[in-house]
């Protein structure tokens, strides 16, 4: 940590010279391939232009923005409350985390604190969402590397989480579970039983995923040493989340700057050593187990009390600005909100983890093979809705 950048910063920048000089008769080894935006393994509408020497990647350039909806511009024309559902549409596989970050940021700006029970509910749902996000990642990542079966196993188990969401707030994916100041809905009858049943149900399933992959020879060969990134490169490129932790940096915002009720719980931050795809896989698998630990503690200790703080009907935060970030499943998700004292935010800036992490793609795949590009895109765990906003 705190290492000086040893490389030339320009080496981090990918910039392909796409105009090819006239090729000679035999000199056509270099191939420019356009991967995406419609490609089964780019997880959405990501377009990666690859420059190949045979199968070896000489450089990449990402073209993004196909899913750009101007969320930040929309925010300036909505009230604080009205904007809340929009954030769910960014990282749609971890919508609860997005909502949590936004609600907490506005609460801070209003100088309101959510009541403890609300915070516990938030933690439970957010961690469930982290599990769902990691399961989705695992399934699609394994599918990219060619293992079809884990996809169906993870989707089967993710369904249980989505059922809890549906029972809690009526929506499965874009939940809009939290409101500024707390939660709108009290937990339904049997919520705690459902969650407890789920945390007993999942550990054997995680073992099952691991049984399919962790010691699978081909899986290990495909992921070990692939897409390596060192801790100092991660920090220089602003990479956060499991990718950073797999490189050996023990940093998690839930511990470093606790929010919601995370300071009450006991959990570990799994870290890897080598920063390759296999380590990132192991880190995420362990994170799933730690999430279960947090949920178990939260469910056992959930306090009684109100779930909504006193928040004015018309929110007019005082003039000022705030940056608040949380540990989303993909990394640091930050909201920078500027208030001019009116009902509408003057500016909302979202600091998306996927967007920043995707920058590391070029560094991670340069000199590797085409098949590794797929593995690395999968292991970065990007959601294009969040990259493009």
């Amino acid at each position: 940590m705190g290492d000086q950048i040893t490389k030339d910063p320009a080496s981090f920048i990918s910039h392909l010279e796409l105009d090819q000089p006239d090729k000679t008769f035999l000199d056509s080894n270099e191939l420019i391939i356009n991967m995406g935006p419609q490609h089964p393994a780019t997880h959405g509408v990501l377009r990666v232009i690859l420059k190949l020497d045979g199968e070896k990647v000489l450089g990449t350039e990402c073209v993004i923005g196909y899913l750009h909806r101007g969320v930040e511009k929309i925010a300036e024309h909505r009230t604080y409350t009205m904007f809340n559902p929009y954030v769910d549409r960014m990282d749609y596989v971890a919508a609860v985390s997005n909502g949590l970050g936004y609600c907490e940021a506005v609460e801070k700006l209003l100088n309101v604190q959510a009541p403890p029970r609300a915070n516990y509910i938030r933690v439970i749902l957010t961690e469930l969402n982290r599990l769902a996000s990691h399961q989705l990642w695992l399934g699609t990542h394994a599918l990219d590397i060619g293992a079809m079966t884990p996809l169906f196993y993870t989707f089967r188990d993710r369904e249980e989480i989505l059922k809890i969401f549906e029972k809690y707030c009526g929506a499965r994916l874009t939940t809009h579970a939290f409101r500024i100041g707390g939660c709108l809905y009290e937990t339904y009858d049997g919520f705690e039983q459902d969650v407890k049943k789920f945390i007993d149900f999942l550990p054997p399933k995680i073992d099952e995923y691991e049984e399919l992959l962790t010691t699978n020879r081909i899986w290990v060969e495909r992921t070990k040493g692939v897409g390596k990134i060192s801790a100092s490169d991660c920090i220089a490129l602003g990479v956060t989340g499991p990718v950073l932790r797999a490189s050996g940096v023990k940093w998690d915002l839930r511990k470093a700057q606790p929010y919601a009720a995370y300071s009450d719980f006991d959990f570990d931050i799994p870290i890897g050593q080598s920063g390759d795809t296999y380590d990132r896989y192991l880190v995420r698998m362990e994170e799933m187990r730690q999430s279960l630990r947090i949920i178990r503690q939260a469910v056992e200790r959930i306090p009684e009390g109100p779930i909504m703080a006193k928040v004015p009907k018309v929110m007019k935060p005082p003039v000022g600005e705030i940056y608040h970030s949380i540990e989303a499943p993909k990394g640091e998700l930050g909201y920078f909100i500027v208030s001019d004292g009116s009902t509408q935010p003057y500016r909302i800036r979202v600091r998306p983890p996927s967007f920043v992490n995707l920058q590391a793609l070029d560094l991670m795949v340069r000199g590797q093979l085409v098949a590794d590009v797929i593995a690395v895109i999968g292991t970065l765990d990007i959601v294009l809705g969040e990259v493009d906003r």
Partner: protein, 169 residues
């Protein structure tokens, strides 16, 4: 097995060989040339079968049509074809080539016309069933040394190719 319609198949296969041979040199597109060559080789394999040499026919298919020609295609595909198509198809030696072809054709014609008198009438007794064994005995018995020399030559070629192709070893 009794041969069926021998004459027909002989002319059929020979015709295919000839036509594909012509196509090989006249097609501008190198891939088409290669495909014509494959067809020619397959027809040749058929001719070998008619000569009761099934082993040779099999090897012809495996090695030439299945192996070497795939490598040919492999190279051709990587080469920039648009450029190749624009280039002149007949180079400056075409006159010499024509003369050589005429000379060779003349030789063949002579042999064909005078063959019956020069060579005595002799039809080799086809040994269909032990054909493969006999080739094995010949290669690894009588012509062992020549066989090994040939394989050594190939080894040298392989090493040379690796050295030339690989930038650093």
């Amino acid at each position: 097995m009794q041969p069926v319609a021998t004459t027909f198949f002989f002319y059929f296969l020979s015709g295919i060989t000839l036509i594909s041979g012509i196509l090989v040199i006249t097609r501008k597109n190198a891939v088409h040339s290669a495909l014509a060559l494959i067809l020619g080789l397959l027809a040749q394999a058929g001719l070998y079968l008619m000569l009761y040499a099934p082993f040779v026919a099999g090897v012809q298919i495996i090695l030439y049509a299945g192996g070497i020609m795939v490598l040919f295609l492999f190279v051709i595909m990587l080469v920039n074809l648009e450029r190749a198509q624009k280039e002149e198809q007949f180079n400056k030696q075409w006159l010499v080539g024509l003369l050589a072809a005429v000379a060779l054709g003349g030789l063949l014609m002579t042999v064909y016309l005078k063959g019956s008198t020069l060579f005595t009438e002799h039809i080799a007794q086809p040994v269909e069933n032990s054909n493969t064994q006999q080739i094995g005995v010949m290669l690894y018995g009588n012509y062992m040394f020549a066989f090994e020399i040939a394989s050594l030559l190939l080894l040298v070629a392989i090493i040379g190719a690796v050295v030339m192709a690989k930038k650093r070893i």
